[in-house]
């Protein structure tokens, strides 16, 4: 049974089809990639999975449990956690307090302060522990979001472009962190524009374009897929995909 399973999900905004019949599976103990051009619907899919966006159709299951109609915080209590592409940190709190808020919501009997300290070290934010989060660089704020998600002791982790804003060495370290998390048994679903990073850490990759999964499989097969190249790498199709504004 997969840690996360999405079946036939469809979302429309007014007349705009953001997702049409998306199926996706993320297994425990692995990093699964989700890539696609701007506006493909990746963030929308994340919102559907965590219950911030209602789907027109389809099902979401966590560990075999149907959570389609469940509220966001109830899904979180079942072990789902995420980060946001558009930062959603608690800016008026310090880094440590951000982690504490998350840890204090858990009912697993662990000392929140110990959890917070442990995670500060794990994601490498000890230096910024007592800084207000709205005054630290964006890349690090993304790590705060990651740490905050980890503080909920999740089983499934959704990461929306977590590495943007990190430099090269930070990105490398970040990739290793992802692999460590997967080793620990987490199911990680990674949305990322850094294709190299995705190819390096993911065992399975889904490619989303115009709200549809156009390819899925291990990194090698994705790299060779011509549909993916057409959608992703500046061919006429891609120009159309990102050219909303100029269409008349």
């Amino acid at each position: 049974m997969a840690a996360l399973e999405v079946d036939d999900v469809a979302v429309t905004f007014g007349g705009l089809a953001a997702l049409t019949s998306v199926d996706l599976v993320a297994e425990a103990g692995a990093v699964t990639g989700l890539i696609g051009p701007n506006g493909a619907g990746k963030t929308t899919l994340f919102n559907v999975i965590c219950g911030l966006q209602r789907a027109r159709r389809g099902r979401v299951q966590l560990d075999g449990r149907d959570v389609t109609g469940a509220r966001t915080f109830n899904r979180a209590r079942l072990g789902l956690a995420r980060t946001f592409q558009r930062l959603e940190v608690f800016g008026s709190l310090t880094t440590r307090e951000n982690l504490l808020v998350a840890a204090e919501m858990q009912r697993n009997g662990r000392d929140p302060h110990a959890v917070a300290q442990e995670i500060l070290e794990e994601v490498g934010l000890t230096e910024y522990a007592d800084a207000h989060v709205d005054s630290i660089p964006t890349g690090l704020a993304r790590l705060v979001e990651l740490g905050r998600a980890l503080a909920t002791d999740p089983k499934v982790l959704l990461l929306d472009e977590p590495s943007s804003g990190l430099d090269e060495s930070e990105t490398t370290a970040f990739g290793e962190l992802l692999l460590r998390l997967a080793e620990r048994g987490l199911a990680v679903l990674l949305v990322e524009h850094d294709v190299e990073l995705v190819m390096r850490v993911c065992s399975q990759i889904y490619v989303l374009d115009f709200g549809e999964i156009i390819a899925s499989g291990p990194p090698d097969s994705i790299r060779r897929s011509s549909a993916v190249q057409a959608a992703y790498l500046g061919t006429p199709v891609a120009a159309h995909a990102s050219g909303n504004g100029s269409a008349s």
Partner: protein, 696 residues
């Protein structure tokens, strides 16, 4: 069934509804384009009605010219000036600040009207087409009613056309949800915002003039006129503050409900007639809130967060000690009414402290803290007295039993939880409006009914001071010291709360409800808890407030006061609602400033009260520049002075995602609105029906 009466009431109802619709659509227009709810909308309408009187009656200009001057020039100009000077600076301000600024503007405008048109002279506006009527059966309809209805219909058509067929109108609809998207598409939200405020003020003015000259019988009375336009807010809520057609439906419901309740109950129940009927629009506002669908959870906004150092336990205990010492010194030095005024200010300070967790930490708004205070005073009067005369009787536990204070907290907290339920799942603005409605309803239907605190007569409003046996609080000095102790203890408690898990959770909730939910917290539950806690603290403060004079009157717990829920909220925020010093200052301001103006007035032999109102307005408006409140402003400057640095504007840093994150990918700057973007805008606006037009 008396068909004639029904017809007559219906025509009156539709005419009234038309006025509400005109006022409410003005509110919707300003809200959708600037994202700021204009609390002063009613006051603008009132001010324009008076201006119209000045031109039409006092100067004797012809009707058409007077209308042209007021609605064509003065109103739009006023609206535009307000937008340019006040509203524009509020774009990144928290909800509490925007509400305080517009509410203060309302009070300020009421003060201005009182200065310009002192209420000691009675004024009236001639009806339009005086004496001209048509009859339907035996029912007589005046031309003015027909004109009113006709204007509303015309307006409905014009607005619909504006919003669906002109680019400016489409852009206007879009601005509120996606300012950046509109900017990106070449629309200029700044210009649109000014335009819409001009239009909004014009509509408010039209509604004000129709109300003041019409058969409704409001006449030119400052407070009444302002409040009646506020009735229209409920209509706007039926339209979820965005849909003009639904707003018209809401106005119709409210207008008819009001006329039918007035018309059909005259003989039956006096209480119903005098206490319930006037608040029907506010009851309907609650209905509108219940009908409102839960929106998506809000994410982080581009809000300026003000960082405030939280004092440690040690520091807060020391300062509380200083406060008690200060209270003792004042009690020794000051006597008579000055002493009780300071005591009342301190009690109001405790009530304002109740806003610190709610507004200062969680960013939620309550405009009914004095209602909870009244409930607390009520509990105290019934539990801790040996035999009360009126309504509900008394538990008679004994004079001044401290159990009364407990009862005050518990009862107010319970009522708070109850009234928050319908609105708490919605965005903050709706909670604010629900609390305003609750304050008005409770004031009319509960406090003023005579059963609670009498009708101003002697013993009915008796509230005991608590009696702890060993030390007596019967002298006013001792009571002041006691109030300082309570203030200190509550302040220590509130700060301890802030340093603990619940306080962190409240700030997290203010910063991003969506993130709180994805971490496993229920935003609704947390908001309900803090609202209830805040209501309880206000109840406690109210019980102590009542003890100062050992007597209360219904008016003290009304929306306008004095002291009133509105002023309590505004001055708490002006003082600095994220700190505990702010409420201390705010409470004293609320009580001492009027005393000072009265004193000065007797020296100068003029009534200065309206100037106090204007000053109050200016103080609130000034908040637009220092959203942290006086305490934060002063302490920042003081610290800067001590350390020899200039205060940095960057103390307040933008707390939000970079603008790029909000933008739709791939839209070239300044391009015309494309079809796909129109669809997206419609989705943002929940307006599916318009999509088809965008395609044409």
């Amino acid at each position: 069934m008396d068909w004639n009466k029904l017809l007559e009431l219906t025509i009156y109802g539709v005419a009234l509804a038309s006025i509400y619709a005109i006022a409410a659509s003005g509110l919707v227009v300003t809200y959708t384009t600037s994202g700021i709810f204009n609390f002063a909308h009613g006051a603008i309408g009132m001010l324009m009605a008076f201006t119209y009187w000045q031109v039409r009656v006092q100067w004797g200009l012809p009707t058409w010219l007077s209308l042209l001057i007021v609605l064509g020039f003065v109103a739009p100009f006023t609206g535009a000036v307000i937008e340019r000077t006040l509203i524009r600076n509020l774009r990144a301000a928290p909800l509490a600040v925007t509400l305080v600024v517009t509410a203060a503007l309302m009070v300020g405008l009421m003060g201005v009207a009182t200065v310009l048109w002192p209420p000691d002279q009675s004024r009236s506006l001639p009806a339009f087409f005086t004496g001209k009527t048509v009859s339907i059966g035996s029912t007589i309809v005046t031309y003015q009613q027909l004109l009113t209805i006709g204007l509303a219909v015309l307006l409905a058509i014009l607005l619909k056309a504006l919003f669906t067929w002109t680019r400016t109108g489409i852009a206007m609809r879009a601005v509120v949800d996606s300012r950046d998207l509109v900017a990106l598409n070449g629309g200029r939200p700044v210009m649109l915002s000014t335009l819409s405020w001009a239009l909004g003020a014009m509509l408010a003015g039209l509604a004000g003039i129709l109300l003041a000259s019409g058969p409704i019988g409001i006449g030119l009375v400052i407070e009444a006129l302002t409040l009646v336009v506020i009735n229209a807010y409920a209509a706007a809520l039926f339209g979820r503050l965005r849909s003009i057609p639904l707003t018209f439906v809401g106005a119709l419901i409210i207008g008819l409900a009001q006329q039918y309740t007035v018309g059909y109950s005259i003989t039956k129940n006096a209480f119903f007639n005098t206490q319930i009927v006037p608040v029907v629009p506010y009851l309907l506002l609650f209905v509108a809130l219940l009908l409102m669908p839960e929106g998506r959870l809000r994410g982080a906004q581009l809000v300026h967060a003000i960082k405030i150092r939280v004092p440690s336990l040690r520091t807060s205990v020391i300062w509380s000690g200083v406060l008690v010492l200060g209270g003792w010194v004042v009690a020794e030095l000051v006597t008579g009414t000055n002493l009780t005024t300071i005591s009342k200010g301190l009690a109001i300070g405790i009530i304002m402290l109740s806003l610190v967790p709610l507004t200062g930490y969680a960013g939620q708004i309550s405009l009914c803290q004095m209602t909870f205070a009244g409930i607390g005073a009520f509990a105290m009067s019934r539990v801790a007295s040996s035999g009360t005369t009126v309504g509900f009787g008394s538990l008679g536990i004994g004079n001044g039993s401290p159990l009364g204070l407990l009862a005050a907290f518990v009862l107010a907290a319970a009522v708070g939880a109850l009234i928050a339920l319908p609105a708490i799942r919605l965005q903050g603005l709706y909670l604010a409006l629900a609390t305003m409605a609750f304050a008005v309803i409770m004031s009319s239907a509960f406090f003023e009914g005579g059963a609670i605190f009498g009708t101003g007569s002697t013993d009915a409003g008796a509230v005991q001071r608590p009696d702890f046996g060993m030390f007596s609080l019967s002298s006013n000095g001792a009571y002041l010291v006691f109030l300082s102790v309570v203030f200190g203890l509550v302040a220590i408690g509130v700060l301890a709360l802030r340093r603990g898990p619940f306080g962190r959770r409240l700030l997290a909730l203010r910063d991003s409800p969506a993130a709180v939910a994805t971490l496993g917290g229920s935003p609704t539950r947390t908001k309900l808890l803090v609202f209830s806690l805040s209501a309880g603290l206000a109840g406690l403060g109210g019980a102590l407030y009542g003890g100062v004079d050992r007597n209360v009157t219904p008016g003290q717990f009304s929306f306008f006061g004095p002291p009133g829920s509105l002023a309590v909220f505004v001055l708490a925020v002006v003082g600095g609602v994220a700190t505990v010093t702010g409420p201390l200052i705010g409470g004293q301001l609320l009580l001492l400033v009027p005393v000072f103006f009265t004193w000065l007035g007797t020296k100068l032999k003029t009534d200065l009260t309206p100037y106090a109102q204007v000053l109050f307005g200016l103080a609130g408006i000034g908040l637009g520049r220092n959203p942290g409140g006086a305490v934060v402003e002063i302490s920042t400057r003081f610290r800067a002075l001590v350390s020899g640095r200039m205060p940095r504007e960057t103390e307040m840093e933008a707390n939000g995602p970079p603008i790029e994150a909000l933008l739709v990918p791939g839209s070239p700057l300044g391009a015309p609105i494309a079809e796909s973007q129109l669809l997206e805008l419609d989705a943002l606006l929940d307006l599916e029906e318009v999509s088809g037009l965008g395609r044409a």
